[in-house]
Amino acid sequence: MFTPVPLIKGLLITLKHLFMKPVTLQYPDEKVAPFPRFRGLHALNVSHNRSKCVACYLCPTVCPAKCITVEAAEDDKHDKYASKYEIDLLRCIFCGYCVDACPVDALKMTSAYELASYKRDDFVFTQERLLDKR
């Protein structure tokens, strides 16, 4: 049996929604605030004006995407440090295993998520670009 009741109910629902506050986020003007543990672009923690990294190779070992390149070297005080530290973001899957693996808390992930670029080369982040300069 046909009744217009469901039709009217539908109309009332759309009318109700007309007066709701829109959920739209005007993206380039307004941005989503990421959650505290959001896994964005990597950063190398700094201590005594250089990276805390001791070039132990745990992060390239654990990395499932094999996107981290580390080369170890020895400084004047015979300490081991990373002479080269690169992350290829085109390969990175942002799993955060590298951060978990790091024994000296040298690596972290920031909330930066706008990582678009025009050149492939720009996606390979060198140590200089990864350093957490605050």
């Binding site: 039709l7 539908g10 759309t14 009318l15 929604h17 506050k21 829109p22 959920v23 739209t24 005007q26």
Partner: protein, 375 residues
């Protein structure tokens, strides 16, 4: 001015008034068409808890102009196998009936400019100035019915001349749809004839004067049913959702408009919106009291008299346009067989019943139905 210059048997003021009325109505309808697109996007946006256009100008108010300019500068494409003349003609045939239907719609009462009385209706004038009796097209409703079914020729022609399967199916659906629904819409209007005893739109509007209770849609129960059925059938005739099968994007790409680009596409778009405005105007005239109520027709402020009868008409038409958009935001599209079943098996018998019922009520309760019922 009463004994002013005479040109071809009519006073010059008549010609001036006529040109002014045509210009004003045409510009108003075009502006409404442009801003109906904006209003629709905005309204449906908010009904879907979005914002809608807001980038072009304040509140996106320049969006229709930007859209028009964009379409105007797009490339004209005529498919290689299309029949070119019909292909180019179709948008015009779709667009023009939508606009010229407005010629007979009375959009306001009589106003007086410099001592010359003129009715706010394009195809109407006052020959006997002292009495102010309006002469208009005495078969105005038939004229509107004729034009309503003329618009579909453009769509059918577009579907056929595009030489595309989608377009052809869209055109076929449009013609089948209009044949099915024109019948029910026409029969729904018969209820109005039975109550007014006239086909002249001036007469029909004059008969609904004097309070909301005199509007045809509320005067008796059968007229209310006729009003609802007429409005729904009109939606089907002008291919608006939930009856937009001729251009159903999900099945037919864009239906009859698949092969059209640039300004020709814009003309189909304009025709669709102009049709919506015309249908709402006709519904207001036939069922919702035309330019009578709720605003007083003449308001005096500081010695100036403002004729506001047209505002009543505009308010009611805009409300119905809002309802059209509301319906579009709410209902999904009908399936083709459901559409046909609804038209032939439900609306047609219902309107026939309405004709009989209205006639019986008019015959047995000559002094009003509700009054007789509650006395």
């Amino acid at each position: 001015m009463e004994n002013g210059m005479i040109f071809l048997g009519l006073p010059v003021a008549y010609y001036i008034a006529m040109i002014a009325k045509v210009l004003v109505v045409f510009v108003c309808v075009l502006l409404t068409v442009a801003y109906a697109t904006w209003a629709e996007r905005k309204l449906i946006g908010h009904m879907q808890v979005r914002i809608g256009p807001k980038r072009v100008g304040p509140f996106g108010l320049l969006q229709p102009i930007a859209d028009g300019l964009k379409l105007f500068f797009k490339e004209e494409i005529v498919p290689a196998q299309a029949s070119t003349f019909a292909f180019l003609l179709a948008p015009l045939i779709a667009l023009i009936p939508a606009f010229i239907a407005f010629a007979v719609i009375p959009f306001g009462g009589t106003i007086e400019v410099g001592g010359y009385k003129l009715p706010l209706q394009i195809a109407g004038y006052i020959a006997d100035q002292p009495s102010g009796k309006v002469i208009d097209l005495n078969v105005g409703v038939l004229y509107i019915l004729a034009l309503a079914s003329l618009g579909v020729y453009g769509i059918v022609l577009a579907g056929w001349s595009s030489n595309s399967k989608y377009s052809l199916l869209g055109g076929l659906r449009a013609s089948a749809q209009i044949v099915s629904y024109e019948l029910a819409a026409g029969l729904a209007i018969v209820s109005v004839f039975l109550m007014s005893g006239s086909l002249s739109l001036q007469q029909i509007v004059a008969d609904q004067a004097g309070g909301v209770a005199n509007w045809y849609f509320i005067r008796q129960p059968f007229a209310f049913v006729a009003f609802i059925v007429y409005f729904i059938c009109s939606l089907a005739e002008i291919n608006r959702t939930p009856f937009d099968l001729p251009e159903a994007e999900t099945e037919l790409v864009s239906g009859f408009g698949t092969e059209y680009s640039s300004m020709k596409y814009a003309m189909f778009f304009m025709a669709e919106y102009a049709n919506m405005i015309t249908v709402c105007a006709v519904t207001v005239t036939l069922f919702l009291g035309g330019w009578h109520e709720p605003i007083p027709q003449v308001v005096s402020i500081g010695g100036w008299e403002f004729y506001l009868s047209w505002a009543n008409f505009v308010i009611k038409v805009y409300f119905l346009i809002f309802v059209c958009m509301w319906i579009r935001a709410t209902y999904p599209r009908y399936r083709y067989d459901q559409l046909m079943a609804l038209g032939w098996k439900f609306f047609l018998p219902l309107t026939l019943l309405c004709v009989v019922g209205t006639g019986a009520v008019v015959y047995f309760f000559p002094n009003g139905f509700w009054g007789a019922l509650f006395s």
